[in-house]
C-alpha cells in the first residue's frame, strides 16, 4: 500500500506535505495547515474505519494510536504526525483473521450498532500494550473517553477483559498493528 491523497481536490497555496507511517506503511499526502489527523485518514487516505463522531474530543470513536499512544484523531493536528507511526482499526486484523479483541467483541456481544467499535478497539489495544494485566475494572475506568450508547458497557467490558486472558495466554500485548 502506498496511498497518496487526491492530487486535484482542495489544493491551495497553504497545502503541506505530510509523510508518516500508517498501519506499517509509509504514506505521503497533502494536508491543510490545521487539518485533523481524522480528516487526513478519512478524507485523504480513505481509511474510513476510524469514525468522526462528536468532533470535539468526547465520544472516542475517532481514537487512533500515534506511536502507540491512544489519541483523539479529531483534535490531533495531522502535521504533528509527521514521521510518526499511526495505527488505525484497518491494521488490526483481516476479515478472516480478526484481532483477539475484535473476535471477543463479536462473540461476546460487545458490538451492536458498531459506531464506537473502532475507537474502543484502538483504545483497548493501547491499554493492553501499556498493561497486559489490566482487568475489567481497569478497562472500564480507562475507557471513560469512549462512549457506547448500545451495550451499556457490561458486555463490552466483559468481552475485552476475556480477550485479555486469551492474549496473556498467547503472550500477546495488544500490539496487533505495531
Amino acid at each position: 500500500m502506498n496511498r497518496t491523497g487526491p492530487a486535484d481536490t482542495g489544493r491551495g497555496a497553504n497545502d503541506r506535505l505530510l509523510t508518516l507511517v500508517v498501519n506499517g506503511d509509509p504514506v505521503s499526502l497533502v494536508v491543510k495547515p490545521y487539518e485533523s489527523l481524522n480528516s487526513a485518514l478519512r478524507d485523504r487516505l480513505n481509511l474510513t474505519g476510524t469514525k468522526r463522531g462528536c468532533d470535539a474530543g468526547g465520544c472516542g470513536t475517532c481514537t487512533v494510536r500515534v506511536d502507540g499512544q491512544a489519541v483523539y484523531s479529531c483534535m490531533y493536528p495531522a502535521l504533528r504526525a509527521e514521521g510518526r507511526s499511526v495505527a488505525t482499526v484497518e491494521g488490526l486484523g483481516d476479515a478472516g483473521r480478526p484481532h483477539p479483541l475484535q473476535a471477543a467483541l463479536v462473540e461476546g456481544g460487545g458490538v451492536q450498532c458498531g459506531y464506537c467499535t473502532p475507537g474502543v478497539l484502538m483504545a483497548g489495544c493501547a491499554l493492553y500494550a501499556d498493561d497486559p494485566d489490566i482487568d475489567a475494572d481497569g478497562l472500564a475506568e480507562e475507557l471513560a473517553g469512549n462512549l457506547c450508547r448500545c451495550t451499556g458497557y457490561v458486555k463490552l467490558i466483559e468481552a475485552l477483559a476475556g480477550a485479555g486472558e486469551q492474549m496473556r495466554g498467547n503472550g500477546m500485548r495488544g500490539n496487533g498493528n505495531d
Binding site: G10, N14, E35, D43, G57, G58, A70, C74, P77, G145
Partner: protein, 294 residues
C-alpha cells in the same frame, strides 16, 4: 474533500524558543501557540480563534522535560499529563498523590496523552484540574519574553481572571516548579462531575501537614463552577490550623467555605448545591490527606 473547522494560513514548528518569541513579536495576536491542542481545538470548534493566522506548535521544542533538583520539581511546559503522572508514580507516589489524583480524574486517557501542563495553566480556566492542584502546591510559573528576562510568578497570581493568565504580550510559559511536600503531610484531589467529559461542578485539592495529630499546615484550592478563577479556601485553612484532625473539626471548619468563594448556578447545578458539595468534598479530601500523611 478535507474536513476543516478552522483554517490558519500557516502551522509552524519553530526550532527554538527564540524563534517562537520572534514570531509572537512580529505577528502579535495573529499568532497563537498550540501545544496539546485540546483547548485550541475547542476554541476552533466554537469559532473562537479570532484573527489568528499562524499556529505555533511548541511540542518539538525541548520543553518536555521534568528536572529534579533536591526537593524541587521543574516541569517543562509541554510535559503531558501522562508523562507527569508516570514520573510521580515512579518517584514520589505518596508525597505527590494530590497531583496523580488530579490527573487520574481527567478521565479520557486520549486527553491525558496529549494535554500539556503548560497548556492547562496558560488557559487560566477554573474548570481545569491540574492548575487547582498546582495552586495547592504553591507552584511558580516561569515565563519568557523576547526582551525581558525570565519572569517567575506564583501560580495563584498567574491566574489573573477567567481565561486570562498573567501572560504579557509576546510571552511564553516555559516551566512550572514546585517543592515536594514534606513526608509528614498528605494530599488529595477530588471533584464532582455529572459525566467524565464535562466540566466538574466543583473540584477540591488539599495538602495538609499533621504533627501530633493536629493540623500544622493546610492548603486548600477550589476549582470548577466556584468563580472566575481557582481560589484558595483561606478561611477554612485558618480555621483548621492547630485543630485536632478529627472529622468533626474538619466538618465544622469546612462550613466556612461560603466565606471564601461565591459558587454560581448553571445547568449543571445550583449555587446552593455547589456550596454543599464544597463542604462535603473538602471534608473527604482532608480525611484522605490525613490518612496519607501517616
Amino acid at each position: 474533500m478535507p474536513t476543516l473547522i478552522f483554517q490558519p494560513e500557516d502551522y509552524v514548528f519553530p526550532a527554538s524558543l527564540d524563534e517562537v518569541l520572534g514570531i509572537l513579536d512580529s505577528e502579535g495576536a495573529a499568532a497563537q501557540i498550540i501545544a496539546g491542542g485540546t483547548t485550541i481545538h475547542e476554541l476552533a470548534f466554537r469559532k473562537g480563534m479570532g484573527e489568528v493566522r499562524t499556529l505555533v506548535d511548541v511540542t518539538r521544542l525541548p520543553l518536555g522535560e521534568i528536572a529534579v533538583t533536591g526537593e524541587r520539581l521543574h516541569v517543562g511546559a509541554t510535559v503531558s499529563f501522562t508523562q507527569l503522572a508516570r514520573h510521580i508514580r515512579s518517584t514520589q507516589p505518596r508525597r505527590l498523590a494530590l497531583l496523580t489524583d488530579a490527573i487520574a480524574g481527567i478521565r479520557p486517557m486520549q486527553i491525558r496523552n496529549v494535554a500539556t501542563v503548560g497548556g492547562s495553566i496558560s488557559s487560566s480556566l477554573p474548570f481545569f484540574d491540574l492548575p487547582a492542584a498546582l495552586v495547592v502546591l504553591d507552584a511558580e510559573v516561569t515565563t519568557r519574553g523576547i526582551d525581558g528576562p525570565t519572569r517567575t510568578t506564583p501560580i495563584e497570581q498567574f491566574f489573573w481572571d477567567f481565561f486570562l493568565p498573567d501572560l504579557r504580550f509576546g510571552e511564553v510559559l516555559t516551566e512550572v516548579a514546585f517543592t515536594t511536600p514534606p513526608a509528614d503531610s498528605g494530599g488529595a484531589f477530588m471533584k464532582f462531575e455529572t459525566n467524565s467529559v464535562d466540566w466538574a461542578l466543583v473540584s477540591v485539592g488539599v495538602q495538609a501537614r499533621v504533627q501530633g495529630r493536629r493540623f500544622t499546615d493546610v492548603r486548600i484550592a477550589l476549582g470548577g463552577g466556584i468563580g472566575r478563577k481557582v481560589t484558595r479556601a483561606t478561611t477554612v485553612e485558618q480555621a483548621l490550623l492547630g485543630e485536632p484532625t478529627t472529622v468533626d473539626r474538619i466538618e465544622r471548619a469546612a462550613r466556612a467555605v461560603s466565606d471564601d468563594v461565591r459558587a454560581f448556578s448553571d445547568f449543571r447545578g445550583s449555587a446552593e448545591f455547589r456550596n454543599h458539595l464544597l463542604k462535603v468534598y473538602i471534608t473527604r479530601c482532608l480525611v484522605q490527606a490525613i490518612a496519607r500523611a501517616r
